[in-house]
């Protein structure tokens, strides 16, 4: 279980459910967070892009939440968490 503090001060506890060096994938679930969601399971998986020796990252999550929060939470997970992560990785390894 990792305990992370986001830049806005929010605390999130996440448990690692699976990790495979063979498939380049890991799965985790959120135990506690200030977000109004439950049964969250996220999978991060890398695929080699042989052309140009690059990397394709697929990051997906499924969770339960009240219907009125769907748009807001999808945006904060998809854009705030995943896309921001991609952008940071691209910066770190040189954008291509």
């Amino acid at each position: 279980v990792r305990n992370i503090q986001l830049k806005d001060g929010a605390r999130v506890r996440e448990k690692l459910l699976s990790l495979s060096d063979y498939d380049y994938s890991c799965t985790s679930t959120i135990l506690d967070s200030p977000m109004d969601l439950s049964d969250h399971v996220a999978t991060l998986r890398l695929f080699p892009v042989t052309e140009g020796n690059r990397c394709f990252i697929e990051w997906s999550a499924e969770f339960d939440c009240p219907p009125e929060k769907v748009v807001e939470l999808s945006e904060s997970v998809g854009q705030g968490m995943f896309q921001t992560g991609f952008d940071a990785l691209k910066k770190r390894y040189g954008q291509r």
């Binding site: 695929f47 080699p48 892009v49 042989t50 052309e51 140009g52 690059r54 394709f56 697929e58 998809g78 896309q83 991609f86």
Partner: protein, 496 residues
């Protein structure tokens, strides 16, 4: 010696655009530089599992390959080599696409496993990886680029000369206006101006507009969702003139079909949400594509509203109508027995040619119950697709087999419909009242089902019957439908 080959690439196009080409197992001679000719044995469609394609490569090698798995949902297919002059044994390959949400692009993974002789194994690995897979990536990129750049033939009979100037601020157009509700005569063709598309919209020059019964109910003022004065029409086909700045994956010159919950299709030129547009495959005519709304409704009934099983029996009311004639053909491709009701012997003949095994001619006030029971040996039908509102719903329920399902389609009627749940409980019957737009809020589902429709039309498994009218004669088209003279679908052609 066992060999695995894996190549992958990122294609700078949305996944639906890439999959629209790749999903056809028989498309390689259009885009793969190594493939000279490709054809399906027995003329089966390029998405039929079990189908066999014959390739002739540019170097003269012949290959026979069989489609083992095909999924529009997962954007993947798997195939094997049956015969080849190359030493490729137990060759099984999989193509898989994944959406790259960052930039709306496509990840394409192509991999295979096979056995070969120890000698020359490394060379064969390179040959498959480079000349088949990597050359395919390059070939498809070029093909997609050509599709976008190719100059389009000018649209026939443009209303005015200014219309040919694409991308201007305002374009003159003609639209059918309904000022007050009433009979067909309340519709008139008016001059309008269409301003540039909004940030998420595209502006389309339409070539075919499907007429639906909902248009008639809007015009008569008996269905909600239509404001006066207004332009009716829920679907259309055309060519994109220009696109808003936030639209990705659509380009001027693209041929698209759309369906939309908000009316406004009866026009030469209009703006529409980019999200609503479905790019058309090459070779599909604009007129055939204008059966989109009716075709996907048919597919929706058979796959989501009830899950039609092979061998089951379906009754389709008004089987010669716009939805009915597509539904009967689609049901036949799923091995259902199709019973249909029609009002004339001419319509019965028409329906028999379009997959209806047992057309029943029913006079306005008569019930087809006795005939339905005779055809089904007293068992009743598994599915009943009901389009006449409250009228005859008790007959529908009486004709259902145990665990049968009645789907009440068509648009909300003036008549309230009451359902006796205790009556349903006697034989575990279910009734649904599906509205297709609710199901197609899920855009991915719509795109998947539209691809299936277009593929079935292209492989001639479904042949839409379409009568065309110039847009200027929309009044006449409505008259024809309301007097129940039509068979198949009616499509309006702008610019006439």
């Amino acid at each position: 010696m066992k060999i695995s080959v894996n190549r992958s690439a990122i294609i700078d196009a949305p996944i639906d655009r890439v999959w629209a080409v790749l999903r056809d197992f028989n498309s390689h001679d259009r885009w793969h530089p190594a493939v000279a000719r490709s054809r399906m044995e027995n003329d089966v469609g390029g998405d039929v599992v079990g189908g066999v394609r014959q390739f002739t490569l540019e170097d003269g090698v012949d290959v026979r390959e069989q489609l083992l798995r095909h999924s529009d949902r997962d954007y993947t297919f798997t195939y094997c080599i049956l015969d080849s002059s190359l030493p490729l044994f137990d060759y099984v390959a999989t193509v898989r696409l994944k959406p790259v949400t960052d930039g709306n692009r496509t990840f394409w993974d192509w991999r295979s496993q096979f056995r070969t002789l120890d000698e020359g194994a490394a060379e064969l690995e390179k040959r498959v990886g480079r000349q088949v897979y990597e050359a395919g990536f390059t070939g498809l990129r070029r093909y997609l680029a050509e599709q976008t750049e190719r100059p389009r033939p000018p649209a026939p009979q443009r209303a005015t000369a200014e219309v040919t100037v694409a991308g201007g601020e305002h374009l003159p157009s003609k639209a059918v206006m309904v000022a007050a509700t009433g009979g067909p005569e309340v519709m008139s063709l008016s001059d309008v101006t269409v301003s540039a598309p909004g940030p998420r919209q595209v502006r389309i020059r339409q070539t075919a507009i499907g007429v639906n019964t909902l248009d008639i109910k809007h015009r008569r003022g008996i269905a909600p969702g239509f404001d006066l004065p207004g332009t009716p029409g829920m679907e259309g086909v055309g060519e994109i003139i220009d696109v808003g700045e936030q639209v990705s994956g659509l380009f001027p010159g693209d041929r698209v079909a759309y369906m939309n919950r908000t009316p406004g299709a009866y026009a030469d030129i209009r703006c529409i949400d980019g999200d609503a547009c479905i790019p058309l495959p090459e070779g599909l005519s604009d007129i055939d594509a204008s059966s989109l709304l009716k075709g996907v409704t048919a597919a929706l009934l058979l796959s989501r509203v009830f899950r039609a099983l092979p061998g089951a029996t379906i009754l389709i009311q008004a089987v010669s109508g716009g939805v009915g004639h597509l539904l009967s053909q689609w049901a036949k491709t799923m091995d259902l027995t199709v019973i249909g009701t029609v009002s004339t012997t001419e319509k019965a003949r028409f329906s028999r040619d379009r997959g209806c095994d047992y057309p029943i001619v029913v006079a306005e006030d008569r019930s087809p119950a006795a005939e339905v029971m005779r055809i089904t040996n007293g068992c009743g039908v598994d599915y009943w697709v009901h389009s006449s509102g409250a009228r005859g719903l008790d007959t529908a329920v009486a004709c259902l087999a145990r665990c049968g399902h009645c789907a009440v389609i068509g648009d909300r009627d003036e008549q309230p419909v009451f359902v006796d749940v205790n009556g349903l409980k006697q034989r575990s019957l279910t009734i649904s009242a599906p509205v297709c737009f609710d199901y197609f809020e899920d855009r991915l589902y719509l795109q998947r089902i539209a691809h299936q429709l277009f593929a079935k039309i292209q492989s001639r498994m479904i042949i839409p019957a379409i009568e065309t009218f110039p847009l200027s004669r929309a009044t006449e088209a409505h008259h024809r439908i309301e007097s129940r003279q039509t068979m198949g679908a009616i499509v309006l052609i702008p610019g006439g």
